[in-house]
């Protein structure tokens, strides 16, 4: 990973990320279409993260390109181009032991009883639920079959994006009221996800580093998320032991 400074207030961050999303089938009767849904999800995540991200007006510490380090005593406003190549793997796991400390996880359940009320006062059923910023994501298998983008939508919560309810933005992937006209991601959202993945710009000056995706215990978080009765998950509990 490295940083390039054009000398006019623009930093370009280069690097390669490999993202692995582990899918855990917790459905009672199995999920025959799971492979095709996973393939679709992998393709969409890859394409949405392609092209990098851009954020302007980013206030950070001054970068010294000759020493390749940041001066923590001086601030500077930059435009940042996130020129990352993201390899994406969406893989199925069959045992909980395959879920390690900080993995990204998407659990597939029979149904979700949780309902939410949008900003216009209308109630909706939930096809997916996620905890943001590295947390677990869960989708209802039947709802995923009806709307193939739910898996990506939930995973992008994991990468830090929020839900959109503005009716003028129905063309956005993070619009979550079900009547999407398209599934676009803005440069800013892409920048936010890249920023989440990168976590700490100054780490980039240390050369190759192993990204540890926050200090999470994904398995424990998923266990608590599944057990939370307000979420109303129905799934085969025998598969989660």
């Amino acid at each position: 990973m490295h940083i390039s400074d054009n000398g006019s207030g623009e930093l370009t961050l280069y690097g390669d990320f490999t993202i692995t999303l582990k899918v855990l089938d917790l459905t009672t009767n199995g999920a025959p279409n799971l492979n095709s849904l996973m393939t679709f999800t992998q393709q969409v995540i890859t394409s949405k993260l392609r092209g990098g991200g851009y954020k302007s007006g980013v206030i950070y510490f001054e970068y010294n390109s000759s020493t390749k380090s940041f001066n923590f005593r001086k601030n500077h406003t930059y435009s940042i181009r996130y020129n990352f190549n993201c390899g994406v793997n969406v893989i199925q796991i069959n045992m909980l032991s395959q879920l390690k400390g900080n993995d990204f996880v998407l659990a597939v359940v029979d149904s979700i009883g949780h309902q939410f009320t949008d900003q216009y006062g209308k109630k909706h059923n939930s096809g997916g639920l996620a905890q943001r910023d590295g947390g677990p994501a869960v989708v209802s298998y039947n709802e995923w079959r009806k709307n193939k983008y739910i898996g990506v939508h939930e995973f992008f919560h994991t990468l830090g994006l929020g839900d959109i309810e503005d009716l003028s933005k129905k063309d956005r992937l993070m619009y979550h009221l079900g009547d999407n006209t398209s599934y676009n991601i803005s440069d800013n959202e892409r920048g936010d996800m890249m920023s989440f993945l990168m976590r700490n710009i100054s780490d980039m000056t240390k050369g190759t580093y192993s990204y540890t995706n926050l200090n999470f215990n994904t398995l424990d978080l998923l266990r608590r998320f599944l057990k939370d009765t307000t979420n109303g998950f129905k799934y085969n509990k025998a598969k989660f032991r």
Binding site: I59, F72, L214
Partner: protein, 136 residues
């Protein structure tokens, strides 16, 4: 003994409040008065998230588990109560760099309305609450 403990506590608080990305002075933002917000001030998580994103808070206040240059992480901010957060983030800290005359005047914090400040504070507080994000 009591006096030493008090001194120690005050010292810790001062030390904690000292850290920030920035080094200048003065920022003036009116604290939102109780019951003074218009009825139209509703909380929209996405918009509040955009305020936080556009101010690039996460670059210095790293999300969880570690501090950059001894700056409190975002989850540490989330653990503060609203009043402390208001003082820490918007009133006393950042040393004026985000104000009209500050070094980062293009990202001015003092142009945020009371409603936006309230929303941003709720967004930061919600960060520590593991709220589920649903989609249809």
């Amino acid at each position: 003994m009591v006096s030493n403990t008090t001194r120690l506590s005050l010292g810790s608080i001062l030390l904690f409040m000292f850290v920030a990305c920035i080094n200048e002075n003065k920022i003036k933002i009116k604290a939102p008065k109780k019951n003074s917000l218009p009825d139209s001030c509703r909380y929209y998580a996405y918009d509040a998230g955009q305020i936080v994103s556009n101010l690039s808070c996460y670059n210095c206040h790293i999300r969880r588990g570690e501090r950059l240059n001894n700056i409190p992480s975002f989850d540490e901010l989330a653990a503060m109560d609203s009043l402390k957060l208001l003082n820490f983030v918007f009133t006393k800290k950042h040393n004026g760099n985000y104000s009209i005359k500050g070094a980062f005047k293009t990202s001015r914090m003092d142009t945020l309305s009371d409603c936006e400040i309230k929303s941003a504070i709720r967004y930061i507080r919600d960060y520590g609450r593991d709220i589920s994000l649903p989609s249809q």
